[in-house]
Symmetry: C2
Subunit: 319 residues, 2 copies
């Protein structure tokens, strides 16, 4: 039994990880400020004697130091995960992703906790010149404040590995899909089609090529990599070995819902400022550890639609 | 006549740039908190009607917004520039390099100033796999909090270029030498030899390979690149096309001072945690703009020794 610390424990990926860790017989210290996390996602965890919840903000370093007491491995998932709105509130990514990560590292140091998993993002590659993009792609040029803030978090973590003997796995995700999903394109399209099944506004030209991974496959990869951690500092791309167009995903969603809306494109290659029109990661490195995703992109999208159909309360919760 | 804003205007590079800009007929708004900057370096500038000094800290965003009024181009040089001591005060690099850079960007945005030069560092490459290291070297792994904080600043800047129509030049320096130099290996060795000319403690094995550039050559490159700024976001390595061993530099310094100390090595490939034992940058990109450094590493070291001999007050000032 290992004592894990999970930040963002009430979030989409966080709560899924917490349930898995508890099911595997581990203890979990969960931290969340419930800014986007959902208490209902912790219903199961809160029945366990091995789960301890701290409701606090990562910007409160003193409280964080207290919460981390007795932990052995941190999985730092708390973040501002909305890529699109960086330019509307420029401080948010800096605070919630970069400074919060610094605080996590300091709270670890204060408690002698030296193992870390970190949810970074494929967005750190900016508009990658090499696709599928490997972990050692050319020096990236950030195109979003979100990507910049996550890349900054990565840099802090590797410096702590060098300076303080930490060991870490950094995970560069494609977009994650599946049960408990509460933001992203399926979330937005589902709501839009529920409100008006006859017309669907689409950002960009719908030809953006993106890759997606199911949350259970994501959690599999995180736990495998943390278990192995071959180097002091490890970076793993996480994704399936294919991509789809936004239009493909729209087709699957509409088919599942039995609707045939008119698609109204905002136009242009990019959905928003800093959007990356083609994300596809080379995942050979994590596959070499023996991981392989079980669900395809289409299966992930359909599982997400089904979750949203059965849990429309998430829309009210995020309002 | 262009109105420049120079942060860190009382520093080594900053004050040299200010004097040059004023001599070229431009106006300068200078910002410094005098934490390491020296008033004596501004003696000449303060006699000019075209120089306006704001004594403030970059962490004070409101004051910064006021200071930036009327500026056209920002050269952001203010920073914590001590690479070695990151692990002793982990918050310093985050605040003075990353958050301060964010504040500079916000103060620019508030004032409609959209052109920026930024002093980054060759340390952002970590321990580079390709040497001489080009600007598009493989995705770096940070080994120091200093490098991490500067890389984070770069990411913010490129995201602002994408999101807010800024144009920027990021300069990745090797170590800079010359008149007004107030920290670094020549500074440390000179003091050590002044105190005891018979014995010189050397961090590491003295075989670290480093490159250096004279401050006037550095200022030449900055002004040329800001003048051209061919792309929205431009990155330039700045350095000479050679490197030396720390032992070579020791030899030049000792010869200039007429001393023959016993060298006492602390041992190991690295001078300190996160030290990079081999820094040598590929500068083809800035050379393609027509720049070429005028002074060699040895000439830079000797100019620095001469400056220190004539300005021993800098040791008291930095105490």
């Amino acid at each position: 039994m290992t004592q894990y610390i999970v930040t963002g424990c009430a979030g989409f990926i966080g709560s899924t990880l917490v349930d898995r860790l508890l099911a595997n017989g581990h203890g979990v210290i969960g931290v969340d400020n419930f800014s986007t996390g959902q208490r209902r996602f912790l219903e199961n965890a809160l029945t366990s004697d091995h789960f301890k919840l701290f409701e606090l903000d990562l910007l409160d370093l003193d409280a964080l130091k207290g919460a981390f007491q007795g932990g052995e491995i941190v999985v730092h998932l708390a973040a501002n995960a909305d890529v699109r709105f960086g330019t509307q509130h420029t401080r948010r990514d800096l605070e919630q992703n970069t400074i919060a990560t610094y605080n996590v590292l300091e709270a670890m140091r204060a408690n002698g906790v030296r193992q870390l998993g970190f949810s970074s993002t494929g967005s750190v590659y900016g508009e990658a010149k090499v696709i599928p993009t490997p972990e050692d792609a050319p020096f990236p040029i950030q195109t979003s404040l979100y990507g910049a803030s996550k890349a900054a978090g990565e840099g802090l973590i590797s410096a702590y590995c060098e300076g303080f003997g930490f060991r870490a796995c950094v995970f560069r995700f494609v977009s994650i899909l599946g049960e408990r999903y509460t933001h992203g394109h399926v979330f937005d399209f589902y709501r839009s089609l529920r409100d008006n099944p006859n017309e669907l506004p689409v950002l960009g030209n719908g030809q953006q090529r993106k890759s997606y991974l199911h949350v259970q496959d994501c959690v599999d990869a995180i736990l495998l990599a943390l278990d192995r951690m071959p180097e002091k500092y490890n970076i793993y791309n996480l994704g399936v070995d294919s991509y789809c167009q936004v239009n493909d995903s729209i087709g699957w969603i509409c088919e599942a819902l039995g609707v045939t809306p008119k698609l109204v494109y905002s136009g242009g290659e990019r959905g928003w400022i800093g959007d990356n029109p083609f994300i596809f990661l080379d995942t050979a490195r994590i596959r070499a550890l023996g991981w392989t995703p079980k669900l395809s992109i289409k299966q992930g999208v359909l599982a997400t639609v089904k979750f949203l159909q059965n849990n429309e309360w998430v829309y009210g919760a995020r309002a």
